[in-house]
Point group: C2
Chain length 428, copies 2
């Protein structure tokens, strides 16, 4: 029985998950491939650290990347280190040494994907990344292969389990943001430094990867509008519920007259939508193709085994062939840069919550400000509970541009009865 050896860079959560699956499912993998898969080398920073999991009997640890790259037995390098610069150097070296690469690193692919895919194409090698978006959900394969013939018009995703867990806890159990965050950290769902997750950057990295796959276009990460969830309050979650919505951290990209409208932002999602029902640390992706129509994929977006499963599917795909993979799902040519729709021109429904003094004429003034900016009101509710003489007034608008809403908010915030900055979310 032939064995395919992999070199594993990083032995944290996902690396140990992969090792566990390789062990528990080895007979299964053999039935599918007619071959065994074994880990040969494991690259770690600290050789003396005690590890809870074992990479298998044929593996040895090393702290030197060159040992992984230069090992003639290793035909596939699996990068699960985290960070950007070290994995970038490692993957570049692996491709230059003629080895296929599997990575879960969305941050690296969002920042340097174009350059790395070009190198892989030049070398005729696989650079596979199923684990980089939505953990175990078969996302990359769906865009690259299963819906290869579909022209995708829209992708909407809940792509960060930590943020979704926090919002779900705030919604279901009425927690404040900071309490929900601490709870997520206690449960291991959030990192000690949760910035990438809660500020939306992790979601943004994944969205850039998805835009490449869905539209065959390069959308620079630095151009992507990103808003996180740190400002979401139980109050807005409650008001949103009263109107029949849930607040979710949404990644969205769509074609609008040849340009791409994309962004990451907390938004109100109608509770009847399947996306609104994605709970806890789950992820979901809804795409719309011109032939297939809408498709939704739902599953665990993180964790050692779900993400390890995605890494393993890439390894198995590379072992099965083809010889010259199209890693992006398109022929190996440089990808055009997206024509970006200026975020100000994005049109949708909006949720506004103004905090104002409890006196006559307030509603009329705000309604007039909206009318002046061409924004039409769908629903308006003054929330009764006056606190220190101030009240919340909540508006749901009809479709309006982000620019018009920016002007409306500036107008409201400049009014003398306004007590606090107006809160604003998009509605899906």
């Amino acid at each position: 029985m032939e064995t395919v050896y992999i070199g594993l860079a990083g032995f944290g959560t996902v690396g140990s998950g992969l090792a566990k699956i390789l062990e528990s499912n080895s007979d299964w993998i053999e039935r599918r491939l007619g071959r065994q898969i074994a880990i040969r080398k494991v690259l770690v920073r600290d050789l003396n650290k005690v590890r809870a999991a074992s990479p298998g009997s044929e593996a040895s640890f090393t702290a030197d990347p060159a040992e992984l790259i230069d090992d003639p037995d290793v035909s596939i390098v699996v990068e699960l280190m985290g960070g950007v610069e070290a994995p970038r150097r490692l993957i570049t070296a692996a491709l230059n040494a003629g080895k296929h690469v599997v990575t879960a690193n969305k941050h690296l692919l969002a920042e340097h994907g174009t350059e790395l895919f070009a190198l892989a194409a030049e070398k005729g090698l696989g650079l596979f990344y199923e684990a980089s978006v939505a953990g175990g959900i078969p996302t990359i394969a769906t865009f690259r292969e299963a819906l290869a013939g579909d022209r995708i018009s829209e992708v909407v995703g809940i792509l960060n389990g930590t943020a979704n867990y926090i919002l779900s806890e705030m919604t279901v159990n009425g927690l404040e943001f900071n309490t929900a965050l601490s709870q997520a950290q206690d449960l291991g769902y959030a990192e000690a430094d949760p910035t990438l997750d809660i500020e939306g950057h992790d979601t943004a990295h994944k969205l850039v990867v998805l835009i490449r796959l869905a539209f065959g276009l390069d959308y620079p990460l630095t151009e992507l509008p990103v808003r996180g969830i740190t400002g979401v309050t139980p109050q807005d979650i409650t008001y949103a519920r009263e109107f029949g919505y849930r607040i979710k951290l949404i990644a969205e990209a769509r074609q609008v007259n040849g340009r791409i409208e994309a962004g990451v932002f907390p938004a109100l999602v109608r509770y009847t939508y399947l996306l609104a029902r994605v709970g806890g640390n789950y992820n979901a992706i809804r795409l719309t193709g011109n032939a297939v129509g809408p498709v939704m994929l739902h599953g665990q977006g993180a964790g050692d085994l779900p993400t390890g499963s995605a890494v393993l599917s890439d390894i198995m795909a590379l072992i099965r062939g083809p010889e010259h993979p199209d890693n992006t799902g398109f022929r190996n040519a440089p990808m055009a840069r997206a024509q970006i729709l200026p975020p100000d021109q994005a049109v949708c429904m909006h949720y506004l919550r103004a905090t104002v003094e409890d006196r006559t004429g307030v509603m009329a003034s705000i309604a007039q400000a909206m009318a002046d900016n061409g924004v039409s009101i769908a629903q308006a509710v003054q929330k009764g509970d006056s606190e220190n003489g101030s009240v919340s007034v909540v508006f749901i608008t009809h479709d309006a541009s982000a620019e018009a809403m920016r002007r409306v908010i500036a107008d409201i915030d400049a009014m003398d009865f306004t007590v606090k900055s107006t809160v604003h979310y998009r509605i899906m």
Copy 2:
């Protein structure tokens, strides 16, 4: 620019859908493949029939299967004829002539898949079938590739859009079965002869295909317990709703101690489950892998363009290579026959509705019959509205075997106060 030519057998709904997508997305397909795809020959029964769609400028019609098979330009034969014997002969001839095959024919694959996959393996050819289950939802690719390293423990699906549409209309609009069926026929969702759809056989064909993919086992179609939806009444839908359930036509297969428990049946699904929210003519599949955990896929299960999209993805996969595809997702060896769990031993919660005379002691007698058979009651409600002196008594049980429930029902139906046969559904 190189062109890959396909031979198309059948030019009905899906065949015309495929032709439309090939035309509208041709530049997109070219970006992905670096090649064009064109239809060369179209096999039809009636050469004189006027067609609403065009198969493209390079295509000609024929009524002779040999013209498709013998055309040296045709490298992929796409079978979209329907039926069993004619497509079986065509696919066998195509494989023997060294041509890859794409089919949407679940009926054929359920009955003769083992023999056809063996022939394809012998010839080293692709026999791809993404369109055979759940239309445009990437189902086959998910099992065969994206989750190739996962050991699947359970697959649950809503796989027939017609049946789901009928049940949804009965649930949402309170229609009788026959009214909902007529409406589905008027809308083109149901065939003139809807037997395969409403009696559960179409779902059964798909489930046999899924069992092969998920477990690598051959489950003979003739062994599969199948129950359709013709007996579902608005009354049971209403009672199920009152307990927090929806009635859905479910296909289910799972591993139980090394044996396969599988079947097609209408069942009560808790309304909070995503599966309960699959509406209209949509399909969904929920699978559970030992690494990935639960994954749900949701989308349109039928229609010209969604199904055409799936056919196209197979064609594109075959054009991209590999040389020796494993069509079943396992190495090309004969598949073992499943160890089948006797359906009587399947354990789950159950819904029972007894129709009885409205007199004292009835509830006690039925409860005693359950206790005698070791069945424990979770909820019991007597529905007040006495009709001709008879009332409905509805029970939700705790976990019990199908065999115990069969005995309970026989006991109830033998009681002198019982007016009509007791209605029974499983609960997911």
